[in-house]
Symmetry: C2
Subunit: 154 residues, 2 copies
């Protein structure tokens, strides 16, 4: 069975509102490796609207953000010859995020695909495509860096 | 008394999760003109964490997004010689959003300042600075365009 990268984050850094398994109020998104790309699926709540019928752009940015940090961890593991679940995941944070809203995103189940543009020792660059009802509606470009120790209080 | 731009959005486009006054589940952020800049204040909830003690990056992107769309409406009104509250606000949506996370943002009251980089007939560009505990922790750059009629179902 596939393991979500977020389920392998160390406990002290698993409280993210977007993807932390230890944040009961949050979105708890899950990102998986499927073939050579990463995949996150998420269904917005009825109130996650921009205007009625369409998904809120801030949620789209949030999903791309957490999908990209999870993807960075996956691609980093792969670059080291490791598999998801074999070790605690490296925890990345976002240094730079860009979102292109190509067209309005219907309020419908969403799927995000990620690929690595660059994998270095402490930095990963991830490109994301977000689809709704089989249409590409947003693109993301994120620069992720390993979380600074000053953020870890555990 | 100052009027928030979001309180002057037409009813059919006032359901945004970030800033819609008609979305009881949402953040309901309010953006004001103060001098020549726009200002939004928001206090994250205890569960809006990235890791314990720090604000979730997706929330920061969301706040910058809604602050920028509200700011675009304000700057557009000003460019036409109008004041906030004198007419229904023009409704902008985000075409492109960039966020630079300069340093970890503490989980504390946040204030965002906006200024117009460009104001055209259907497009406004807004630069945002986000402060927490008097430190500049994130910067935003957003390109906003007038909402397409296809998004308005009212």
């Amino acid at each position: 069975m596939k393991i979500a990268i977020q389920d392998t984050y160390p406990d002290d850094v698993a409280h993210c509102y977007g993807c932390g398994r230890l944040n009961p109020e949050g979105h708890q998104i899950k990102t998986f490796l499927e073939g050579e790309r990463t995949v996150t699926r998420f269904t917005p709540k009825p109130f996650h609207t921009a205007v009625p019928g369409f998904t809120y752009g801030g949620l789209i940015a949030s999903l791309i953000d957490c999908h990209a940090t999870g993807s960075a961890a996956i691609f980093k593991l792969l670059s080291e010859g490791k598999t998801v679940g074999s070790v605690p995941a490296p925890r990345f944070v976002t240094a730079h995020l860009e979102v292109d809203y190509l067209k309005p995103t219907p309020l419908a189940p969403l799927v995000l695909f990620g690929r690595a543009l660059e994998v270095k020792e402490r930095k990963v660059v991830v490109a994301t495509e977000l689809y709704a009802e089989e249409a590409l509606t947003a693109k993301g470009h994120a620069v992720l860096v390993l979380m600074p120790e000053t953020m870890r209080k555990g």
